[in-house]
């Protein structure tokens, strides 16, 4: 599935919820279900700066596609990561670079996109894209 289709699926899923409580509960469930990053990658080098909660992201290339694993010590942040990973993992680096993230707004999580909010969502997206840029350069 391409990034856009996944994002549309996510928007569909979130449209079923009537209020913030349900959205957050769903996100918390997603966070709990997130496949964890392997301990060897949970290093300080892989921590995304600027978050009140710790966020680790690891990326590796598999068959020309980027695979992300991640973790956080805060569960809501982890839920957001789960959504991002579902969108961006197993995608070609160039597609990740080109992807927009407006769907975050559409699923009612706009408040988490504010650069001043200390959850690091913005830094996280930036980091995922930076990995994509780095691997795309390698592929070229």
């Amino acid at each position: 599935m391409n990034i856009e289709t996944i994002q549309e699926d996510i928007i569909d899923e979130f449209s079923m919820f009537d209020d913030w409580m349900q959205r957050y509960e769903y996100m918390i469930d997603l966070g709990k279900a997130l496949p964890l990053i392997e301990d060897q990658y949970k290093t300080d080098d892989n921590i995304i700066k600027g978050c009140q909660s710790k966020v680790w992201v690891h990326a590796e290339l598999d068959d020309n596609k980027l695979v992300f694993t991640a973790d956080s010590d805060a569960i809501i942040t982890k839920g957001i990561i789960a959504i991002l990973i579902r969108t961006f993992s197993n995608q070609k680096p160039q597609d990740i670079i080109d992807a927009n993230t407006n769907f975050i707004d559409e699923i009612g999580l706009k408040e988490h996109l504010s650069p001043t909010r200390a959850n690091g969502l913005v830094s996280m997206i930036k980091q995922l894209k930076l990995y994509a840029v780095a691997y795309q350069t390698q592929l070229n």
Partner: protein
């Protein structure tokens, strides 16, 4: 007679909604809200008084100067300061501390010692570390115990004739601990060290008599006492303020300027370069008046009641732990719930219209001490109510149910 309903009517912001819920503002240790009595002064300043001060011969300038200097006198009286020129108007506590730290650059030598408490805000750590880098002075730390109290025996053994300066907060921002500053001041003075007390967190709760305490430096920020942001006070004993060199150069702080030599203005202007936050200063004075009209004894009594109630109710929640259980504390509760990150709790509380602070509260050494990433901090003011405590407790329970 203390009437919280009547008091709340002074604060227009308390009527607003957040995320569709009535605002429950419990982040008072970060900044206090502003009553109409202070807002009116700000509006009146720009509608009637706005002019630069200390310079103009015209009436507006004179009236603005009178209002600004009037505020200085109000602050002087509030803290029982001997001379009005010992009140330096600054942009806030951080500015005040940096001013003193900068001044001590010229007074310290390599090997001199500074003593700091383990429960300081970064603003009362970093300027001194920078000072140590510049001068070769050494920073020593008064440890704290599990309750969030300073270990005073250790403090006394840190003091020696090498100690030049001791700095400590009056009240801890992260824990609410009221520190034994009298003991700290007296012991420090015995070895000839000067003492700076960061009063930012004490000022909304305690009316400190700076002469009786014999403090050398005391700092506060107006926005913690119902005033505006960007303005605060440095109190310094005249003898110390005379010893310290000017901090910033510019207008207002000079006596005479030629390209060969500049002579500096007398206190307090020596430390007040440039056009100050005039409106902020005047509003600061109004805020001090407002707080006094409520009465600090009444505030302390009411806040203690809120603190006791909130502490008892929060502790009923399974897995909740309070950090900072000192015998003497202000109405601040820092807590965590087992297995839940403070950021998650803060996010859910925000959705419920409840404003708390989460994180390390600019006091990372305290978090390192407890080996936690941060806490949720609910800080209460005299305009908060028991009903709001109930909303908080219900909110925390709801967050716990969602997050566990």
């Amino acid at each position: 007679m203390f009437d919280v309903t009547k008091i709340r009517a002074d604060f227009p912001i308390l009527n607003r909604e957040v995320n569709g819920k009535p605002l429950v503002y419990l982040d008072n240790a970060a900044t206090s809200q502003t009553p109409t009595q202070v807002i009116d002064v700000i509006v009146d300043y720009y509608q009637r008084l706005n002019a630069n001060i200390h310079r103009g011969v015209h009436t507006l300038s004179q009236e603005a100067t009178d209002a600004y200097e009037g505020a200085r006198i109000k602050i002087q009286k509030h803290f029982n300061i001997a001379k009005s020129h010992e009140v330096i108007m600054t942009s806030g506590t951080t500015h005040s501390i940096n001013l003193v730290a900068n001044g001590f650059s010229t007074l310290l030598r390599q090997g001199d010692e500074l003593v700091v408490s383990a429960m300081e805000h970064h603003s009362n750590i970093v300027p001194w570390q920078m000072l140590c880098e510049r001068t070769g002075a050494i920073l020593k730390v008064i440890p704290m115990n599990e309750n969030g109290e300073l270990v005073m025996d250790d403090f006394h053994s840190l003091l020696s004739e090498k100690t030049k300066l001791v700095f400590c907060n009056h009240v801890s921002n992260a824990l609410g601990t009221v520190n034994p500053i009298e003991e700290i001041i007296n012991a420090s003075h015995k070895v000839g060290a000067a003492v700076l007390i960061d009063g930012a967190q004490a000022a909304p709760h305690i009316k400190a008599d700076l002469q009786a305490l014999d403090i050398d430096f005391y700092t506060i920020s107006a926005h913690k006492v119902c005033g505006p942001t960007g303005v605060g006070m440095l109190y310094g004993k005249e003898e110390w303020l005379k010893k310290l060199p000017p901090y910033q150069g510019g207008g207002e702080m000079i006596a005479e300027v030629t390209f060969e030599k500049t002579t500096y203005a007398d206190l307090p202007h020596k430390f007040e370069a440039g056009t100050p936050n005039i409106c902020g200063g005047i509003a600061f004075g109004a805020a001090v008046d407002y707080m006094n009209s409520i009465g600090f004894d009444e505030i302390a009594e009411y806040e203690q009641e809120l603190l006791d109630y909130a502490t008892a109710e929060l502790l009923k929640i399974e897995g909740l732990k309070i950090y900072g259980t000192a015998e003497q504390k202000t109405s601040v509760i820092s807590f965590n719930i087992e297995h839940i990150h403070p950021y998650d709790i803060g996010t859910i509380l925000d959705k419920l219209g409840i404003a708390v602070r989460t994180g390390h509260h600019c006091a990372q050494p305290i978090m390192d001490f407890y080996k936690i990433p941060g806490t949720v901090r609910a800080s209460f003011s005299f305009y908060n109510t028991k009903k709001e405590v109930d909303v908080l407790v219900e909110g925390v329970k709801r967050a716990r149910n969602m997050l566990l």
